[in-house]
Symmetry: C2
Subunit: 240 residues, 2 copies
């Protein structure tokens, strides 16, 4: 049994963890989404950041698990995903294969951080409205250079395989999520770039057709994309 | 024997890998720093990005190693450091301890990415000179909010231990490096914030006093900080 602590109103970085838990069919509680009366809500997540550990937590998502009868606390999205994947057969039981999976996962994480900075190029503590000219400039270079670079590279990683590493791994779930996020936030740029990346689109389709993922996406557990998350659609940041 | 592929004129992200190799007393070739006539230089690193793999490489640092008589290629700084640490006793031989180390390492990597963005808030492909007003704004929020948040959190992780996790791990080497980098790039902000974080300063001192690290820092192998790397000192980005 796992407990996930993440903000209840956005997909955000928590979504990468949720997808692994769902594909693994793991039993978990999404603590932030419980009613306040059952110890849920944003306040519960904020409390977890302050109180859980060691090691001290920097930011959610946070996973609490019981391993060999001991409660442990993990943070950092890629770290949590890799940990769950090892326990649930979503990565090969091999040191080198695991390092290869992690390096692609970490590069996807870098892409996600860059997506965040398109609407927050100056500071995460300021509103988008307070950094709009800078956001426009940053989004322009993100659309014209970074999306093609990242997706072109993922296309090379995919090669002719059904999934990024042949068999399904947790990294494919994150690839699915980042493609869905880019499609939502930057529909024009996404359409342009992915015209050249059919292989990763095919992986995205394979992931979304997996029974557990399809059932998750159709459920109430999947929070829709919105303008509070990492992937935000602002028309002015996605010019034709 | 390892081969490291990284830009020859900067510490950059390659430095986190170099510090692990040095503390491990591992045999390695810093390929980019070899003369061109011996297959070195920036061109050799650029070629490695294009040609090494699978999986395809996104960016350096890149490590090439021979594992069970097979050549393997790894990228992503934290991934390389964690891999080397497991092989050279610089992290405990325990799944949970390794995940805890990685999560702190990844948060240090996030801090490094934010340092980069203080001088490149709009785009990595533009010159600093083309994004100076934005850099000034971003650096201001980085100094006033992010440095205190990251270093305050690292101080909590350290607690009263000699190193972040009691015994030395690769994460301490990266902590040393990020503190040295912040001190070089933002001397005023660094002095202000670290007045409140004596424990991580003590870890930094312990790391720099370790014989292999001290000898590395005194050698020609240690490239000085400069204005091409991630940690850059621009007086206008570090107001008193």
């Amino acid at each position: 049994m796992y407990e996930l602590f993440y903000w209840p109103t956005i997909q955000g970085r928590g979504e990468f963890v949720r997808l692994v838990l769902e594909e693994a069919k793991a039993e978990y509680v999404d603590v932030g989404r419980l009613p306040k009366s059952e110890g849920g809500g944003s306040a519960a997540v904020a409390r977890a950041i302050d109180e859980l550990g060691p090691p001290a937590v920097f930011a959610p998502p946070i996973l609490r698990a019981t391993i060999h009868k001991k409660k442990i606390v993990l943070s950092q999205t890629a770290n949590i995903c890799a940990f769950l994947a090892r326990r649930h057969g979503l990565v090969a039981d091999d040191e080198v294969a695991q390092a290869h999976a992690l390096q692609v996962q970490l590069t996807i994480a870098d892409l996600v951080a860059e997506v965040h900075d398109t609407h927050h190029p100056i500071g995460a503590s300021l509103y988008y409205e307070d950094q709009k000219p800078e956001a426009r400039r940053r989004a322009e270079s993100f659309r014209s250079e970074r999306i093609p670079k990242f997706l072109g590279w993922l296309e090379r990683v995919a090669g002719d395989q059904a999934y990024l590493f042949g068999e399904l791994t947790y990294v494919d779930l994150s690839l699915f999520q980042v493609l869905e996020g880019l499609r939502y936030a930057f529909p024009h740029a996404f359409a342009r770039v992915t015209a050249e990346t059919p292989k990763i689109l095919a992986i995205r389709d394979r992931v979304s057709a997996r029974p557990r993922i399809a059932s998750y996406l159709a459920s109430e557990r999947r929070i829709p994309f919105n303008k509070m998350g990492i992937f935000r659609h602002y028309a002015e940041l996605d010019e034709k």
